[in-house]
């Protein structure tokens, strides 16, 4: 734009005349605060700010200064969204801190989303699960508002909440055609019957996360029925409430049915058990792909893992003890031919066995996270030269994970 004192000022294209599609394209890259500043510039930009397409996704952050260091979504903004944009919202999540007030605030907002047809809803506790500390009825009624009104829920994350069997029934009654993802780990008020209702009716379910006590042979069979789509991801948390807890078994035939029906599905299992509680696990072949041992797991159990988990892709062992896992690792390298990631915490493996393990796996190991203390030097390898041997077999430079020794 050329302006000279004597010349008439030319009217060229100016910022406020940018077409809405272009504004939208630019605005979607701006963080909300910057977008809000931009909306104050002129009427046109203010209109663009309120375009429905910009309000499809929103994450409500509900924090109290007394319990969180992070800022909350401004209450005025929340009011405005509910007033102007609640029927545009489709992908919504609530992040709440450890205070009951935040959980209740989330439910208040949920109760007002009457005009929404949400596709995605996530209730995420960023610290202690505060949804569990609020009155259950308040929570359930707020959640039910969404279940009943949305009718097109595709993804639902309600881990660590007091959701119960009746509310799951409502979910299923209204969203069985569309539900694809359901994450409900650690929902203590749900029973196996409650989750069966979901499996029986929601035939499009592709991802499911729950605790072991909800898993049953019937559930697996239902998920493998002809009417069901292929399951993609099943996550199971096995958590010990009290030491010496007994767990029920799942028949091999149920797992086989799952694999037949959904040959590519990922079975992710997180174990938080005492060493003595593994008795029933890993006795028969199980199609687990991602295995995480959050507490100590015994040498025996790891030996059984090698024998029973042919589909294993990822293995994490937080702790084992002071007996070397040489044989167990070698067996896993031999039998778990899909293994591509392994993490070892407080364990011990002799350097020679470790090199053997890596040699057998070769470059399929894309992730090898071994704490430095795990590797025990022996007659063939010292700590300082093992990383070259391993790097050679992996085809890339590798070092163990280190922790400050200050």
């Amino acid at each position: 734009k050329n302006r000279r004192e004597n010349e008439v000022v030319e009217e060229g294209p100016s910022w406020e005349c940018l077409p809405q599609e272009i504004l939208f394209h630019i605005f979607q890259y701006l963080p909300l605060l910057d977008r809000a500043y931009a909306s104050q510039v002129c009427r046109g930009w203010n209109q663009a700010f309120h375009m429905p397409e910009l309000w499809r996704c929103f994450e409500f952050e509900l924090n109290q200064p007394a319990s969180s260091y992070l800022k909350a979504t401004h209450p005025d903004l929340i009011k405005q969204i509910i007033k102007k944009h609640s029927n545009h919202l489709q992908y919504v999540s609530f992040k709440v801190d450890s205070s009951r007030e935040s959980a209740e605030a989330a439910c208040d907002i949920l109760s007002q989303l009457v005009n929404c047809s949400l596709k995605t809803l996530g209730l995420i506790s960023t610290a202690r699960p505060s949804f569990m500390e609020m009155p259950k009825s308040h929570f359930i009624s707020a959640l039910t508002v969404v279940f009943v009104n949305s009718k097109s829920l595709s993804s639902l994350k309600i881990d660590d909440t007091p959701v119960d069997d009746p509310s799951l029934k409502v979910l299923v009654a209204n969203n069985s055609d569309t539900l694809k993802l359901l994450k409900m780990s650690s929902c203590p008020h749900v029973s196996p019957a409650g989750i069966m209702c979901v499996a029986d009716q929601c035939h499009g379910l592709r991802e499911l996360a729950l605790n072991y006590h909800l898993l049953s042979d019937e559930l697996l069979i239902a998920l493998s029925s002809e009417k069901h789509v292929h399951l993609e991801h099943l996550r199971i948390d096995v958590v010990s409430e009290n030491p010496g807890q007994q767990f029920h078994t799942i028949k091999k035939s149920s797992w086989d049915a799952m694999v037949r029906h959904s040959p590519k599905f990922s079975l992710v299992m997180y174990f938080f058990l005492y060493e003595e509680e593994f008795d029933i696990f890993f006795r028969d072949e199980i199609p687990v792909t991602h295995l995480y041992f959050g507490r100590s797991v015994s040498k025996d159990v790891l030996g059984r893992v090698g024998l029973t988990c042919p589909r294993l892709v990822e293995l994490v062992v937080c702790a084992n003890g002071l007996r070397p896992l040489d044989e167990e690792l070698i067996r896993i390298a031999q039998r778990c031919t899909q293994l591509s990631a392994i993490g070892l915490g407080e364990c011990e493996v002799s350097c020679s066995a470790f090199v053997e393990f890596v040699k057998m796996c070769g470059d399929r190991l894309t992730q090898l996270s071994i704490m430095e203390e795990v590797l025990v030097p022996d007659h063939r390898y010292e700590l300082d030269d093992i990383h070259w041997e391993v790097s050679k077999h992996l085809g890339r430079v590798w070092f163990p994970d280190m922790m400050p020794t200050w």
């Binding site: 938080f272 430079v397 994970d401 922790m403």
Partner: protein, 562 residues
């Protein structure tokens, strides 16, 4: 005209390997060594009695050793910026020397003092001797940014010239004709204060497990090396119950205060290794303790917000919980987990805990169980831990809470199991938590699981004489692992400019967006690398310094970074 010198002690509380001190005495007419103590600081500062005592013992020791060369230490009450101008005039100072302080606030303070000195016509000489290397050189070698992985740091170090040799100890010869004018009332005016004078109640205070001072430090290093030579191998010693206890060969507090020169330690280790192994090149792992310290100093030197989460470019923003009651229980050793409580008791009583014990309590407070901010833990360590200085303490806490430095977070230390594996008999617990002495080894790590009969026999009912466990560990760690994963997975999905990778391929700048591979547990490396583009952009000149990631569109792979 022979100058009148002041040597300003801050850290570097020693007469051996002190190049700045040597500059002070070089051809000087008078030499005075000063140390500033802010008298109001003791009460209000976040420094516990063990740290103060250690410092005072260091100062006493300095004074004693200076006496041997006919000099004395001048302990000055007040702030350097306020007092120096007066001293410059009163003592007709023309030369000021001090050891370089790499910490951001140290640099700021020193810049201000340099200005004052210049205005007063005082020559300022600064020498590096608190770190092995010139940290700015390391940063320069890494393209202007400090290395954020320890491996990267080691790679850079191996390309530098070895550290400078330690210089000779201050002696009569070195002092030459320089003298220290000492007045009759030196003790009153400039003497080292006692703990009582600083406002501490010392009645019933047990004697120091870690006595401060250069003399003690030099004795210890000889013992430390003797032990290493006797063992005749330089492997990392296996952790056992004994390792948890304070060792007469432990050196970390002395390195922190500068009673022991890190360069002296470095060279003595090197000499010993060469003698014992008859091998000329010691591996980097030999200097592990020193290099970790150096790593954190390097990471912190240009980052005034290194000890904070907010506004700290290398720290991940994690939604930590604010919970003062829980924090207090941890700090006061009342968590109900004997392993954690014993460690925190040892820390408070003695001022030192083994590095694995640090990992255990740091993990418990932050990402493992309580989900409380690492900044809170750092403050407690600052108060109680003898060897915690700003850079190392903040850096270690960020590392242990998985807030930075590319640390994989899958491994969580169990507050029961980890202790039990380290000290199966539980002697460490019994030593620091006498109330639990009556418990057998089977239950001493989880006494709440002991049947009532056992508790009664031990004369300790859980919930009455000793607290119940403050969290359910399995549930807490399950939740927290999930939190961490969410955070890192979200980091990877953020499509803001900061997350873009910028690289140069065939002379062309390219920008690409990084996605994590669908892994359940291993997200960090690829995500964090993309968060700090400078690590990527730093021009690599050796093959081990490139980056790997998966592009969403083009399926290309580049070689890997460490």
């Amino acid at each position: 005209m022979a100058p009148n010198s002041i040597h300003w002690f801050r850290k570097g509380l020693r007469l051996h390997d002190n190049p700045a001190l040597r500059e002070a005495v070089q051809g000087a007419a008078t030499v005075r060594c000063v140390y500033f103590l802010d008298p109001w600081f003791a009460g209000s500062s976040n420094v516990g009695v063990n740290r103060w005592r250690f410092l005072l013992q260091c100062l006493e020791d300095l004074d004693a050793n200076l006496r041997k060369v006919n000099s004395r230490l001048f302990v000055i009450r007040g702030q350097p910026a306020n007092v120096f101008p007066r001293l410059f005039k009163e003592w007709k100072i023309s030369r000021l020397t001090f050891e370089y302080d790499s910490e951001p606030f140290g640099k700021e303070r020193d810049a201000a003092i340099k200005k004052l000195a210049m205005e007063a016509g005082v020559e300022v000489i600064v020498k590096i001797s608190h770190t092995l290397y010139d940290l700015d050189k390391i940063i320069e070698l890494n393209g202007g940014q400090p290395p954020l992985t320890y491996k990267r740091f080691q790679t850079l170090i191996s390309r530098l010239d070895p550290p400078e040799m330690p210089v000779e100890t201050l002696s009569d010869t070195l002092m030459g004709s320089g003298i220290t004018p000492i007045s009759e009332d030196h003790g009153e005016k400039y003497g080292v204060p006692s703990l009582e004078e600083l406002g501490f109640d010392t009645e019933g205070l047990p004697s120091a497990v870690w006595p401060g001072g250069e003399t003690e430090a030099l004795t210890r290093i000889e013992r430390h090396l003797e032990r290493k030579a006797w063992v005749a191998n330089f492997e990392r010693p296996r952790m056992n119950a004994n390792s948890l206890l304070a060792s007469p060969t432990g050196l970390s507090p002395y390195l922190r205060f500068g009673c022991l020169s890190c360069r002296l330690f470095y060279f003595k280790l090197t000499d010993l290794y060469r003698k014992v192994k008859k091998n000329s090149s010691p591996p980097l792992s030999l200097y592990g303790q020193l290099l970790w310290r150096e790593f954190f100093y390097t990471a912190a030197t240009n980052n005034p917000r290194f000890d904070k989460m907010e506004g700290n470019p290398i720290c991940v923003r994690i939604p930590w919980d604010k919970n003062p009651e829980a924090l207090a229980k941890w700090a006061e050793a009342k968590t109900g987990f004997p392993w954690i409580d014993a460690i925190m008791t040892q820390l408070r009583q003695e001022g030192w805990i083994h590095h694995l014990a640090r990992h255990a309590v740091a993990c418990f407070l932050s990402r493992g169980d309580l989900w409380i901010s690492w900044e809170e833990g750092m403050k407690v360590f600052e108060e109680l831990l003898l060897d915690a200085d700003w850079s190392v303490n903040a850096g270690s806490w960020m590392w242990l809470s998985c807030s930075s430095f590319f640390q994989q977070f899958f491994h969580c230390y169990c507050p029961v199991g980890f202790g039990r594996r380290t000290d199966p008999n539980g002697d460490f617990i019994r030593r620091y938590l006498p109330i639990l002495r009556g418990f057998p080894a089977k239950f001493i790590y989880d006494p709440w699981n002991a049947p009532e009969s056992v508790q009664t026999a031990a004369k300790c009912i859980i919930g009455v004489h000793y607290p119940k466990p403050m969290v359910h560990h399995a549930e807490a760690s399950r939740l927290n692992i999930e939190r961490m994963k969410q955070i890192y997975q979200q980091l990877s999905r953020y499509r803001g400019l900061g997350m873009r990778q910028v690289t140069k391929e065939r002379g062309q700048w390219k920008s690409c967006y990084c996605e994590p591979i669908r892994s359940e547990h291993f997200c960090i490396f690829r995500i964090l690398i993309s968060r700090i583009p400078s690590v990527v952009v730093a021009p690599p000149s050796r093959s081990c310094l490139n980056v790997t990631w998966k592009h969403t569109g083009s399926r290309k792979r580049s070689p890997q970074t460490t």
